[in-house]
Structures are given as structure tokens and as C-alpha cells.
Amino acid sequence: MNNEKLNIDKLFEDSLGDLRVEPQAGSWDKIVAGVEAASAGTNRKLWGWIAFSAASVAVLVYFLFFRSCSTTGAARNYAFKDRINIIETKSYVVKTKQNSFAKTATPKVVSQKSRNNYIRKNITPEKTTHNFNRKQTTTTNIVAVDGKTLGNNDINRNSTGTVIKHNAVEENINRAETVETLAKNDESRKTSIEEEATPAVNSNELTEKLSEEKSAINSPAPAPEITTGLEIEFGAGPAFVKSNIRQKIVYDNPLIEGVNSNSMTTAEGFIRVKYSVSGFYVKSGVGFSEFGGNTTFNVKTEMHDTSGGYASWILNRYWTYDTVGFYDDPMNPGVVYPVLSPTYHIDTIGSQWNSKDRLYYDKTTYDTRNRYRYIEIPLIVGYQHYFGRLNVYAGGGVGIGFMINATGKYFCDNELKDISRSNNPYNSHNLNYMINFGAAYSLSNKWNVFAGFNYKSNITSIIKPEYDSGIKYKATGFNLGLSYIIK
């Protein structure tokens, strides 16, 4: 058997082991086309990955670098104001040094504001150095304060960077840190890194500049414009709910009819977190919402009035005949006929009382306030535009509602039943689309007040399929609230 196995294997191997078959004529062209298509596909994948990577890097840079730059306007000016207050009595001479890749730099006298920028560069050298464009670096240090030349020791020689990076550093410094660090620097910069001939400083000129800056700073701060940032919103207000339920419904049981009021007024409220990116925002959070309606169920109960009635008897009426004599027929001698006397009888066999059954309907009215309450989690995307302190916004999204409570009555199995959490015709959750728009006004750097309209409508029915007859609810709400700028 083994030999046989080997033989058949060998038979085929010998026959087909070196099988060579020339391909069809167009085969090579197809391969070339396939190779080119595969290369193009690889390139597409490659570019796709490059694009994806670039986008990822951009997003990462954005979140790591610019995200904290959440406000412009007033907040930044306030910080600057504080810094000015600390150092306003001093004048500074700054020496700028550039490397061989850059043009020659010259020492210069700088204004208070510029001086602050220079200081800030020096405050955070560890943050700035490793990211800088090293082809063109700038070393900036204060070499004199109030006409006194500073020493060599304390100023960081590695505090280098491009202007662009400095701006970013500036944005990364929050107000408190800046004030504190500046205060320290005022103390530490009693010495300078190198001896430098201090250019003459015109103190009058400097004082003039300072007073100009100070007056500019002391003027009312412009409203903060949220370019990127996080807010938390608290809002509440009335909501007007409408449904498409028919006004009058006669149920399967003809004795029950419902009269519906298709609208109701309720309240809604929410806490949402709003994340803004440039003009766009995304909101999500938790809200309370309510759908429902007022229905009057008219239930007729069949009633019988048997108070009236009559008695009836079963009678047997019949005649009996008694023979009272005989009559001889003269025409037929010997024939005798009896003479009969009839008696009428009425016998009572039985009697009964026949009651009267008068049918009438007892009508009971139930005024029900059906309420279906939800915890709602929205996701809203929108756009906002600033007009000074005023911010106008509009957006839309979806919200998923989780039923927390339901009250009222519903018609089931030919009877009205009370709605309870465990016994109700409603789905435990539903999906709504929502549109909101409104305006917010900046009260301060941290607080806004807003007023807006919310509109929402069911995407999925709130009613279980077995009870659903295409009923949809819509709610229009008017909200007032406050928003707090987290950052």
C-alpha cells in the first residue's frame, strides 16, 4: 500500500512536476496595470497616513500649546496692568544678541510693555529653549535697571527664541504666575550677564510712554472674546410642548373617548459644558425635559334602571260542558241528543314580576395630566459670533433622553390604567434632534448671561411600538442662564 502511495505520488510528480504553460498574450499588460494600481494605492495610503499624522500633530500642538490661550482682550490686559504696577517706577535697557545666522543686533531702550515681553522670555527659558528654531535665535537680557548696569550672574544665557515662540510663551503665562515671577525677577536682576555701555535714557520720554501705556491699561477693558475655551452653562426656563395627537380619540371600546389638549407648558433646565474653538462650539451636559399632554378621558358605563316593573300571570283559559238534558229527534224516532251547558274557566298556572330594564350610561370624566420626564444628554454643535460683549450663537444637535418618571393614565385592554414606572406604554429612552440659538452678554471675564431658544423634536418615538400611532412631541423652550468661563 505504501508503495502504491508513493507510486501515485511519483506518477503525478513525474508528470506535472515540471509543468510549464505559456501564459496568454495579454497577461503581462494586466500585471503591469496591476503593479501600477498597487503602487498608486500604496501612495494613496502613504499620503493618507501623512495627512493623518499631520492632522494628529496639529491637533496635539493645538491642545498642548494653544489651548491654554483661552482668552484675549480683558483678561490679558488685566495681567499686563498688574505687571506695570509692579515695575512702573523702573526703566530698563535691554541688549539683544543674535547668533551668526541672524542680522546684527543692537542694544536698545525698550518700553515697559516690551520690557515685560523680554522678561517673560527670560522667565521661562526651560519652556522655550528646546522648541525654538535654532537657525535664528535671539538672546535677550536686561543689562541695566534705572541706569545701573547689572551684573553677570543671574540672567539666563540660554533664554533664546524666535518672536513667534515668545508669543506662544507669553500666551502660556497666566496672570498670577507672571506677577509672581516678575516680582522675583525684579529682585534677582540686580546683576547682569555682561558689562554693557548703557545708552542714555531719556527719563522724561520713558515716563511719558509709561503714562500713556498706563492710561491705556486703566481704560475700561474690552470684553473677553472666547476664541478657545471651556464654559459651564446653567440655564432654565419654560418650554411649550406640542404633540400631533388628534384632539378627539375614540378608543376600541366605544364607551371611552379621549379629548386631548395637544399642548402644555412645562419647565426645562440644564447644565452644559461648552467647548469653543474659534467661532465654533460643542455643548454637552445634562438636562431635564418633559413631554406630555392633558387628556380628558370620558368613560361611559352602561347602567340599568330596574326600579319600575309589572307582575304577570300565566293563565289557562278553557270551557267545560255539562249535560243538562236530552233531546229526542222527532224526525228520527229513537235518536236522542244530549243538551249541553258550557262553563268558562280561567285557571292561574303561575305568576311573575316583570321588572323594567332601562339602559342608560353613567359618564365619568378623568382629567389626566400625562407627564413623561427625562434626563437628557445633548450633543450640540454650533457657531457663535461676537459683537463686542455680545455673543450670538446658533447650533443644532441631538439629545438622548432617559425616562426617569411618568405619570398619568393610558388606555390598555379596554380600560384606563395608571401609568407607573413599571407599567407604561413608553420607551425607556428616546432620541431627539434639537436646535438652539440665542445671545450671550459678557458680564465679566468669567461670567456671561445668556438667553436662548431651544427647539427639539422626537426622532424616535417615545411610545412603545405596540402603542405607537405615529405620535411625535415637539418642545420649544426659552432659557435664561449664566455661563462661567472655566478657562
Partner: protein, 186 residues
């Protein structure tokens, strides 16, 4: 540097003429391999083309370990198997066990006496159920061990062995049948 080495180097650089040369050298052998795994000529051509596309797009990965022909053959065999499983979607012992035993008639323990042409032998293989065909080809022509076949096809070693045995019987019966038909026509 051998002729193959030069050709491979040029192919790695994407030289179309070198690729065509390589194709002309190896395509007859590779089509022969594909024919053994395919149901028909057209399917074998498709598989071979797909295999050569893989060869040219992944030739930069060939490090010169082992023979180049062996490398291409493996690609062709794998492409043939993938081509089958793309249609079948899943690989399991069940695919192999689905073949009905009643299809196999063990008529005779001896081999047919008549000689058969390459085309007839190829037809006999192509008539094999897919599971038998794959195991038989891999074992007899590609010299894979049962363990390797089992790993490549995702089946057990015992399944591989039983499939080979059944394939042999099937082929033997096919050859006997062909022999009888030939005798009748003569």
C-alpha cells in the same frame, strides 16, 4: 552576481523591462503551479497575475535568503490558497470534511496501466475537491510536511493526512475511470 541577481536588483528599482524579463523567465513554471491549484485555465491565469503583482510590489523585501524561484513559488502557492479562501471566507477542518466519502470509490488497489498525458493528469488533479487538491499539491509537489500544511491551511495534522489519503484514492479512481473511457473509445 548571477543573472537572477542582476534581474532582481533591476526589478527592485522598478525597471519595467527587467520585470518583463523576469516574468518571461518564470511565468510558465508559475502558471503550471497555479494550474494545479485552480479549477481551470482562466482561474490559474488570474491567480498567476495576482501572484506576479505581489512579486513586483514586494520584491524589495526579498533578502536573497533561499532561492528566488522558491520565493516566487511560495508566493504563487499562497496566492492560490488565498484565492480559494477568499471565496470560501473561512478556513476550517469542516471545509475539508464536507467532502462526501461516497464520492470516492476504492475500486482497485493497483494503479492504471495506461499512460496519461500531462493535460489528462492535470485534469485529474483539477477535478479533485479543493481540500484534497490543496493538500495533495502541497505534499507531493511543494514537498511540505503535514505539520506545515496543517499550519498553512489552519487544519489539524490528522486532517491533512486523511485529506492526502483521500486525494490519492480520488486520483486513482479518476485515472481508472479515464482508462476505461479510453479503452471504450478505442
Amino acid at each position: 552576481m548571477t543573472f537572477d541577481d542582476k534581474l532582481i536588483e533591476l526589478c527592485k528599482k522598478g525597471d519595467r523591462a527587467a520585470q518583463e524579463k523576469l516574468y518571461k523567465v518564470y511565468s510558465p513554471v508559475m502558471l503550471g503551479i497555479c494550474l494545479r491549484y485552480a479549477k481551470n485555465r482562466q482561474e490559474a491565469e488570474d491567480v498567476m497575475q495576482e501572484g506576479f503583482i505581489k512579486v513586483f510590489t514586494s520584491i524589495s523585501g526579498f533578502r536573497g535568503e533561499g532561492s528566488f524561484e522558491g520565493w516566487i513559488k511560495r508566493i504563487m502557492v499562497n496566492t492560490s490558497l488565498n484565492h480559494y479562501y477568499k471565496a470560501k471566507k473561512t478556513i476550517s477542518d469542516k471545509n475539508f470534511d464536507d467532502i462526501r466519502e461516497t464520492d470516492i470509490r476504492n475500486e482497485d488497489d493497483e494503479l492504471p496501466q495506461m499512460r496519461f498525458s500531462q493535460i489528462e493528469m492535470l485534469e485529474a488533479i483539477q477535478q479533485l475537491p479543493d481540500g484534497y487538491k490543496q493538500v495533495f499539491n502541497m505534499y507531493v509537489f511543494e514537498k511540505y510536511k503535514h505539520r506545515e500544511i496543517a499550519d498553512l491551511l489552519g487544519i489539524s495534522v490528522n486532517t491533512s493526512k486523511s485529506q492526502l489519503s483521500k486525494a490519492r484514492n480520488h486520483l486513482k479512481n479518476t485515472l481508472f475511470k479515464m482508462e476505461r473511457e479510453k479503452k471504450q473509445t478505442d
